[in-house]
Symmetry: C2
Subunit: 118 residues, 2 copies
Amino acid sequence: MAYEKKIPIDLDCPLRLTMSLIESKWKSCILDELRAGKPMRPSEIHKCLPEAAPRVLDIQLKELVEDGLVAKTIYPELPPRSEYNITELGKTLLPIIDAMLQWGEEHFDIFEKKYGNK
Amino acid sequence: MAYEKKIPIDLDCPLRLTMSLIESKWKSCILDELRAGKPMRPSEIHKCLPEAAPRVLDIQLKELVEDGLVAKTIYPELPPRSEYNITELGKTLLPIIDAMLQWGEEHFDIFEKKYGNK
DNA sequence: TCATATACAGAAAAATTTTTCGGTATTCTG
DNA sequence: CAGAATACCGAAAAATTTTTCTGTATATGA
């Protein structure tokens, strides 16, 4: 089988469970991109997150699909086309993503002053 | 200098900023332990999170202090005593921690069925 | 024909995080 | 005195994640 996570998610503690689903570097951003409900093609997602290595987005998209937070539709066309959508389960995480986004906006200055090299 | 994070926190995106503050394996749990506002000694925190390697808790506590989410008080006694408290800034993250905790509780069954080996 | 776009996979390297192990220092208890 | 408790720290090993690179396949457009 392809790339495989050793410990897919953490079932020992509800907090760790939630964290383990989204803590990988770009997963929360992917969910944020898909938040509107509009299906997105992988190339589109790559364009929206240019800082992320494409391979990592592939891997993390795959894990999000495995975990049921994102759904994938493959169109048997050529050139190939596929689309990713946030699932109902994934949508239930959006309030958390929103809250983190908002917190980051509200407290950006503190950390900019602290760690920003301008 | 001692142990040093390469990229302390992520200033490129507000969502990544928030995530980078709490995504390390035990940070959210530490904040959860301190949520009540009661000061905790390191040994107490270790006892509450027995799955975590003590060294990692030390490191992550230190980072939480550096980032201003947790405050540390050292009592110049012998044997040494120190206490950790959540700061006002740290408290502003609690709604997010709470939401993740609650989400984990609500959706535990799905993932238990999916990944739990009983 | 050749380059491009598309989506994705494997492998290996690099970076980072987590864990394990050992060590410092001091006081109190047996 | 030996050992425990206390709070740390450094170094190195292990584990994991992220990045980079290369390769598959097929159609379209120059």
